[in-house]
């Protein structure tokens, strides 16, 4: 699978990707594409290979076979690193730096022009101003998650990869984060177990199971696979387990 046409690059592209950890297969001939500007949820049961997929997309793991591209570039390239933002599950910022230092350091590392302005914007937007001098090691899990999220978007990435982004956040903060992410332009891939989060943050779904591609479509199409009364979670569970 190559980019869909000369004029329209995919935001994210995986082609026949396999990856094993020793003798344990994690991904098996996985292929999917997300068009530029697309907002997709990556769904799958535990051990489906969601986190491995994201780690391949940021270039910290290499595929055994197949290839991965971000806006047409390999993930380990400078071009790709300049446009990708990544939030892992249970993300931890630098615990030897304060909240502000974390933001400024990563902004500088990413070549953001107005480091101070961008830092101030995110501190206010995510309600972290009162903790700006705090030692990250002493933050609550919720505030750590807010900081981690800020760090993943400090450079206004064109491709954003999020693994359970709303973990640990209280409901008002969740709403705040959702509205912040909605305002961000670009391609988003959100790995989550929670359908309501997928529904709030994305409009389409890539479903994988046991490291293999299972299904792709919009959330509305997914909903139509069940009866009108059936919760969408039941539909997803049925598809993931292969039950009729």
């Amino acid at each position: 699978m190559e980019s869909n046409s000369a004029g329209s690059r995919n935001g994210i592209e995986l082609s026949h990707v396999s990856k094993s950890y020793g003798s344990v297969p994690a991904l098996n001939d996985l292929s999917f594409e997300i068009p530029m500007g697309g907002r997709f949820a990556l769904l799958g049961p535990n051990g489906a290979g969601k986190s491995t997929t994201l780690k391949l997309l940021i270039g910290s793991l290499r595929a055994d076979t197949g290839y991965v591209k971000i806006l047409g570039s390999p993930p380990e390239s400078k071009e790709s690193k300049a446009v990708v933002g990544y939030l892992p599950e249970d993300a931890l910022p630098y615990r030897m730096l304060s909240v502000r230092e974390n933001l400024e350091y990563i902004a500088a590392l990413r070549g953001v022009e107005d480091v101070k302005g961008r830092t101030d914007f995110l501190l206010d937007e995510l309600d972290l101003r009162q903790y700006e001098k705090s030692n990250v090691g002493r933050l609550s899990r919720g505030n750590t998650q807010k900081l981690a999220l800020a760090l993943s978007i400090v450079h206004s990435p064109k491709v954003l990869l999020l693994d359970e982004p709303l973990n640990y956040l209280d409901i008002p903060t969740q709403e705040n984060v959702i509205s912040l992410l909605e305002k961000l332009e670009g391609t988003h891939l959100v790995s989550t177990h929670i359908m309501s989060i997928a529904h709030r943050l994305t409009d389409s779904v890539v479903m994988i199971s046991k490291g293999m591609f299972l299904w792709e479509g919009t959330i509305d199409e997914l909903r139509k696979k069940g009866t009108p009364e059936e919760p969408i979670e039941k539909v997803v569970a049925r598809m993931m387990t292969g039950a009729s």
Binding site: D90, P93, G137
Partner: protein, 445 residues
């Protein structure tokens, strides 16, 4: 340690070995006492807090039980670390010294959290200096038994243990669950001075971060539980402390004069051995924080791994030199004042330790260390054998550094080989790309 002892006893004649071990013993006890007080705490797992301390049992009884388990674990470690110092003590009273030391280390860990940071650091420095007074033949110092004052030194250690154990038990009898939580989280909430990275280039930011602050990390192995402790210290304070310590070393060198370890093999300043050992430890603690505190999801999504690690390691070496250079200057001054054979020590400081430092970082990265995520305890079973091997090179480094101080040719060859290897690995992009994959596969985030 057995390898170190064997190397010292085989390569260096017994009389000199006894002197070198005396210096080593005093230095390492000073270091342990200072660290026990500076970074202490009772080793309580998160699971202990969540399950054990919520059982209908007396918190005091549980705390005392943990104290004793920690004492036994300390005692075993101390037998391994200090037991071979017997030749420098030459008396079975060493056993009493070791028990007293184990009780003191354990008790200091309990006392430490109730003291504020300033007092803790001041007391740590005072304890270390008091111990080092043993080198100057002061008979009532914790370091005295290893420098020919066995009775006064043993009496001092017993008195120190009696005082610290009493204070620790008074603390334990008042201990509450909230305090237990505090014991495992001793860092302050806010950083008083902030660094700004605004206006810095990506590479400039890496150097700025690593040159303005230094981070120390080490695995404290207590009560069968491992805890990664990491601390950030302003580089200018480290430079000041290092300069003061190097000044003390210089003054001691003037006072003591060249220790004439005659018989044709060694003729150098034996205090350099102490410096070699202490700098080996310092370099090791610095090296461990380089990777364990790293955040791949942030740094390596910003810059390619070879480029990031090249600059990270170079900046760490420069910051380590802040610690090392004052000692090299002290050596040069002593040499110029007529102290012979400090060439080996100078090469040890400027070549062997920096080279070994980079190799320790590369080794730790290669075998995939545990990432510092919090300061809670880590069960030993959570470490793989490979990961526990991060500390292995330190034994070799201590041996190499010790031998370098007394054998200049060895210092030159070992230093140049280590630096060449360190440079090759630092600049090897394939190595660092492989390291990233390995770290990620081992759960590094």
């Amino acid at each position: 340690m057995v390898v170190y002892f064997t190397a010292v006893s085989q390569l260096i004649p017994p009389q000199q070995a006894s002197i070198i071990l005396g210096y080593y013993g005093t230095g390492i006890i000073a270091l342990f006492l200072a660290m026990a007080l500076a970074t202490g705490g009772i080793m309580v797992f998160k699971s202990d807090r969540d399950y054990l301390f919520t059982l209908p049992l007396s918190t005091r009884d549980l705390s005392i039980a943990i104290f004793f388990s920690q004492f036994i674990a300390f005692g075993i470690s101390i037998l391994f670390i200090f037991g071979y110092l017997y030749p420098s003590v030459g008396s079975p009273l060493l056993l009493v010294d070791l028990v007293a030391l184990a009780l003191t280390f354990t008790s200091l860990g309990v006392i430490a959290p109730s003291l504020n940071t300033g007092v803790r650091i001041a007391l740590s420095v005072a304890l270390a200096l008091w111990t080092l007074l043993g080198l100057a033949n002061f008979p009532y110092s914790p370091g005295a038994p290893f420098n020919g004052n066995i009775y006064g030194g043993t009496a001092t250690l017993i008195a120190l243990a009696a005082v610290t154990v009493t204070l620790a038990f008074r603390g334990l009898s008042r201990i509450e669950l909230d305090m237990m939580r505090n014991l495992v989280r001793t860092t302050s909430t806010d950083y008083k001075s902030q660094n700004s990275y605004a206006g810095k280039s990506p590479i400039g930011a890496i150097y700025s971060m690593n040159l303005s602050n230094m981070s120390l990390a080490g695995r404290m192995n207590m009560a069968g539980a491992s805890r990664y402790v990491s601390r950030r210290i302003k580089t200018r304070w480290v430079a000041l402390a290092s300069t003061v310590a190097a000044g003390a070393f210089f003054a001691f060198g003037l006072y003591e004069g060249p220790v004439n370890l005659t018989n044709g093999v060694v003729d150098g300043n034996a205090a350099s051995v102490l410096v070699a050992v202490l700098l080996s430890f310092v370099a090791f603690f610095f090296s461990q924080s380089a990777i364990t505190n790293e955040r791949l999801w942030l740094s390596l999504t910003s810059l390619p791994a070879p480029s990031y690690f090249k600059h990270l390691i170079t900046s760490k070496v420069v910051s380590l030199l802040v610690v090392l250079v004052p000692f090299a200057i002290a050596d040069v001054l002593l040499q110029s004042l007529g102290d012979p054979d400090l060439v080996g020590s100078i090469m040890m400081i400027l070549l062997v330790i920096p080279g070994a430092f980079v190799l320790e970082i590369c080794w730790a990265a290669y075998i995939a260390p545990i990432q510092v995520k919090g300061e809670d305890m880590t069960m030993p079973a959570q470490f793989s054998i490979r990961q526990m091997a991060t500390a292995l090179p330190m034994g070799g480094v201590i041996i190499a550094a010790t031998l370098s101080t007394v054998l200049p040719l060895f210092a030159a060859v070992a230093g140049l080989v280590m630096c060449a290897l360190a440079a090759l690995l630092t600049l090897n992009g394939r190595f660092w790309n492989g390291v990233v994959t390995k770290l990620t596969e081992n759960g590094f985030v």
